[in-house]
Structures are given as C-alpha cells and as structure tokens.
C-alpha cells in the first residue's frame, strides 16, 4: 500500500531539471509532497487534489493523474537549496487524513 517513488536518488548540476515520480497500486484522490533536508523535519510543499491538476511552489510544480494513479514532481532550473529528500504521501483508504509515505527520493544539486 506504500506508494512507490522513483528514482531513489538523483544528482544534478545547478540549473538542471529533474522529475520525481510517485505511483500507487491503489486508487488515489490526493497526493502530498514534502521535502526534508538532512537532519531536519519534513516540510510540506503542496497537495494535489484533482486528477490532472498541477500546482506550483517556487520553481517546483507537480501533476496528478488519477487514472494512472501517479503523481510527478517537477523541479526546474534547480538550485542548491533544492537538495534534500523528497517524499510523496497518499491517504490511507480508511481515512483521508492519515498519510502513507513513499520511501523517498534523494536529490543532490551540485554547483
């Protein structure tokens, strides 16, 4: 039931783009995205609520495809500050407010 994230890790040069995917074997009606820097707490980025909806946060945007049961996080023109681990979270089937998190994607942006 845990969503699957890919890739597990990615290394970028500053200014490059990246895509992180999150997919589920169960039907999804919302997806959360969080970023966690080393040694810190996860920080909420955005929620995708509707199929096909895209939202943005700085130069980070995301899409959500209900039919394909997946969401993608797009990081464009990456900055050093984007480094960290990105998690997607999906609500449990029995409750909309309890999230199950993927195992994370480690992103390293180098100068």
């Amino acid at each position: 039931q845990q969503p699957v994230q890919s890739p597990q890790a990615v290394i970028l040069r500053e200014g490059e783009d990246a895509v992180i995917n999150c997919s589920s074997s169960k039907a999804l009606y919302s997806v959360h995205w969080y970023r966690q820097k080393h040694g810190e707490a996860p920080v909420f980025l955005m929620i995708l609520l509707k199929g096909g909806e895209q939202k943005g946060h700085e130069k980070i945007s995301a899409s959500f495809n209900e039919k394909k049961q997946q969401s993608s996080l797009y990081l464009t023109a990456s900055q050093l500050s984007y480094s960290g681990t990105y998690f997607c979270g999906t609500p449990r089937m029995d409750s909309s407010y309890k999230l199950i998190f993927g195992s994370g994607t480690r992103l390293l942006v180098r100068p």
Binding site: Q2, Y29, S30, H32, Y34, E40, A41, P42, V43, F44, L45, M46, I47, L49, F87, G89, P91, S95, S96, Y97, K98, L99, I100, F101, G102, S103, G104
Partner: protein
C-alpha cells in the same frame, strides 16, 4: 515560537526500559501523529490521534502506546525499549479536512536503544 515541539531531542536508553517521548503543539490542531523514520523505509505511522482521548494504531504500533489527555500534548511510550526501536521519531499535526491540509512536523527525537 515553533507551533510544534518535541522533547527530548536526543535520548539514549537501555534495552528493556520504558521511554516516553512528548509532542506539544500550540496550533490547536485536532489531528496528531507519531511516525518513525528509518533508512530505506521512509516515514511509517505508529499511532495517531483524532481528538482528546481518541487514538488509534498505525502500521507499526507493536511495542508502542500513546496518550492524549489534552489537545496540545501527544505522548508516545515505548513500554520496554528494544534495539529495533532505535530510530528518529517525528510528531506531526494537521487540521480537519486532512486531504486538503498538509502536515506540520516537529523537529524529531533521535532515540538510541543500547
């Protein structure tokens, strides 16, 4: 003036001893959660609360208990700590309408059981 604080931040304890971790919020959020974070597993839900004295189990609740006697405090107790409970523990809060509101996480407690 953080809205959610965890204590202690670090703790080392011996196998077999009870341990209590505290989560305190000043946001008056209804929902509170305890997660553990281990390499390769991401964040796994231990217990959660949907109101004062209303709690329920998550995916990895064995060996843990919780209590919530006040809106602002959510306690996690390891009844008899084992080495497999060495982990980083995060508390989180959210508002009702959870599918529309993100979580706010505390800074975490790093627990080592020796």
């Amino acid at each position: 003036d953080a809205g959610i604080t965890q204590s202690p931040r670090h703790k080392v304890t011996e196998t077999g001893t009870p341990v209590t971790l505290r989560c305190h919020q000043t946001e008056n959020h209804r929902y509170m959660y305890w997660y553990r974070q281990d390499p390769g597993h991401g964040l796994r839900l231990i217990h959660y609360s949907y109101g004062v004295k209303d709690t329920d189990k998550g995916e990895v609740s064995d060996g843990y208990s919780v209590s919530r006697s006040k809106t602002e405090d959510f306690l996690l107790t390891l009844e008899s700590a084992t080495s497999s409970q060495t982990s980083v523990y995060f508390c989180a809060i959210s508002e009702p309408g959870g599918d529309r509101n993100g979580y706010t996480f505390g800074s975490g407690t790093r627990l080592t059981v020796v």
